[in-house]
Amino acid sequence: MTRQMTGAKMVVEALKDQGVDTVFGYPGGAVLPIYDEVFQQNEIRHILVRHEQGAVHAAEGYARATGKPGVVLVTSGPGATNAVTGLTDALMDSIPIVVLTGQVPTFMIGSDAFQEADTVGITRPCTKMNWLVKETDKLASTIHEAFHIASAGRPGPVLIDIPKDVQFATGSYTEKAKTKVSHYQPRVKGDIDMITALVEAMETAERPLFYTGGGVINSGPQASTLLRELVDATGFPITSTLMGLGSYPASGKNWLGMLGMHGLYEANLAMHGCDLMINIGARFDDRITGRIADFSPGSRKAHVDIDPSSINKVIHADFPIIGDVGHVLEDMLRVWKARGRKTNSAGLAKWWEQIETWKTVRCLDYKADTKVIKPQYALERLEALTKDHDRYICTEVGQHQMWAAQYLGFEDPNRWMTSGGLGTMGYGVPASVGVQVAHPDALVINVAGEASWLMNMQEMGTAVQFRLPVKQFIMNNERLGMVRQWQELLHGERYSHSWSEALPDFVKLAEAFGAKGILCSDPADLDDAIMEMINHDGPVIFDCLVEKHENCFPMIPSGKAHNEMLLGEASTKDAIDADGAVMV
């Protein structure tokens, strides 16, 4: 016997059925009926943001920190169009989110009504799938289907556009269990013959390397556990993309550091010189490959990916394996163990020797300074003082993001939230809000540049309203740092519009919001200031004035290959080492 209820009530029922406990949203005319239902229940918590873009980024942060889909509720017209950036960001980074948008009544669609926009038309290219629900009887099953599609296979954003008259009308509610099984069932088990061929190659490879990415995180914590087992058992070196940090611990024996355009010297040279590259859950992004014609010329490549269109898109895969990373790793381990746990130990020993000589370059060293806080130093101190906390790190986009990836150590998955594929400035403030909502007692830090931070700063209001003690660690160099760096290196130092003028006083701004503000410009005061930030029971804006013209190295300039990295001025063997830099 199906239950009869209004469309608005169906939305809330369906979300509860799906196990949703939090919705990020902003009301408006076209969603008033749904908001009325939200008001009259207590199981789902609604977080009122200050801008719809903030709602979507908060949902992304929530999703990455929990593994559950993030849920957004916004109104029609400008509410929906404000969500486009977040949807595109989620599509690029494969984050599962379900966005519910209001729409004008069905009989007014196409008449240029108030706050009407062609939401499904506008969001078609930036969602995995979207729907306009025209009949209340279909609303519940559409929502259940949406959750399935957001999470199945390669995760991604979905959008359901719900006209207001559909929200008011009464229809039959379809239970989650009774919803027709979707035909969309991506393959999760890899082809065992190809897996065996890969294991065979692993047994004899002289210079093997694991190259892991966001797919390991998306597969779930079990995938990270299996990855660690496989890496430790085989003894192969491992590197990771920006999106994959944390799947293998930074303190692990075989960790080479991040690879790519701003990756570590040893990681990039290992990619270039390996003879067997095992890509697990990464997509050969252009930030990683550099010039494709020169990418790892002597290696055979395995590519494990749940998305068949990712394989052979950019780089030819000798061992293409379509499947969920977790399932494939399980099979790889089982087959490798059954075949006698073989590796080419002589070859591996020489390979590690080679890698150790690359490490002596100490590519992350920088010139320390006693008067000005170097951004690298700021992150080294942040790492030292926070690493033993229950810590989640978000970032904005730019130099600070790269330094955070280089100098912070990630021991577990789902603790690193950054906008990789789309590189959205303004991601970090709302993402930190979303993460804190998911983990109210954790230490959530948004490492930001001052320019990125201002883009969605209005979400500090959300943090204060919901008592979310997010720590905004702003590395303020009064510049658009990454742009300035490229202008210095590649555009003849013509600094076209890459400085931040008319910046607010961040301490006064924090107080205006009702949060705490801390200003620090002296390296000698940094440790105490960071401890003050950590210990304050509430949201904090930390204005850390840093060196204005520091460049982020190593860097592979665009169009170059991995072995044409630029290294910074301090990366010679005689420079001050990392321990010394701390004491200066």
Binding site: P125, H183, I311, N312, D318
Partner: protein, 202 residues
């Protein structure tokens, strides 16, 4: 590769085999992808895509082509299974082998797409198009037009003292040839449907 029409099969069964190392020159109707992976030659492929018959699905497929810069040489679409709510989109596209492969993979991963068949590599196939050609002329040219129409087995579906409308079905090449012969005989107006195609045999 056979297609069991009407029986739902998981999209998961289609996956890319890594290419065999056999040189170019193999028959374009071979069932295996024998072309060199790194070939830069532009090829034309006819794809038959089975999709859910829902509002917005065609827009999503076309958006894929325009968003990623793929070519559409011809596109036809119609419902083919009313109860199952399925339509077939027949697309003729061109690109290098790597691009063609990406097009297929990107189509396959779309949620409303049930099946993508590359008729150009999966064996022999039949491809047909329909065109309506109006030829406006007088005297000897009119007679000549009728004679050519008879040779091509085109039907006359409209005639006035100064014009004919011919209806012709056939491969796109045949239609091109017919139009080329009509053009010198007078003013020509043309409407074409685009290519519909289906695999031969089982």
């Amino acid at each position: 590769m056979t297609h069991s029409g009407g029986v739902p099969h998981h999209k998961t069964e289609r996956f890319l085999m890594s290419p065999l190392k056999i040189e170019k020159g193999a028959s374009s109707h071979s069932a295996y992808d024998l072309r060199s992976h790194m070939s830069e030659e532009i090829e034309t492929h006819t794809l038959a895509v089975l999709v859910t018959n829902e509002a917005g699905v065609l827009a999503r497929v076309i958006g894929l082509f325009s968003g990623r810069g793929y070519n559409i040489d011809s596109l036809t679409v119609a419902e083919v299974d009313h109860e199952g709510h399925r339509s077939r989109i027949t697309i003729v596209t061109s690109g290098t082998p790597q691009v063609i492969n990406q097009i297929k993979m990107q189509l396959e991963r779309m949620v409303p797409v049930h099946e993508v068949a590359d008729l150009s590599v999966e064996g022999a196939f039949v491809s047909r198009e329909l065109a309506l050609i109006k030829v406006m002329g007088k005297g000897e040219a009119r007679v000549e037009a009728l004679r050519i129409a008879e040779i091509f087995r085109a039907n006359v579906v409209d005639s006035t003292l100064e014009s004919f409308v011919f209806e012709i079905t056939g491969t796109p090449d045949k239609i091109d040839a017919f139009c080329d012969l009509m053009r010198p005989l007078g003013d020509v107006r043309l409407a074409r449907t685009g290519v519909a195609a289906i695999a031969r045999g089982v």
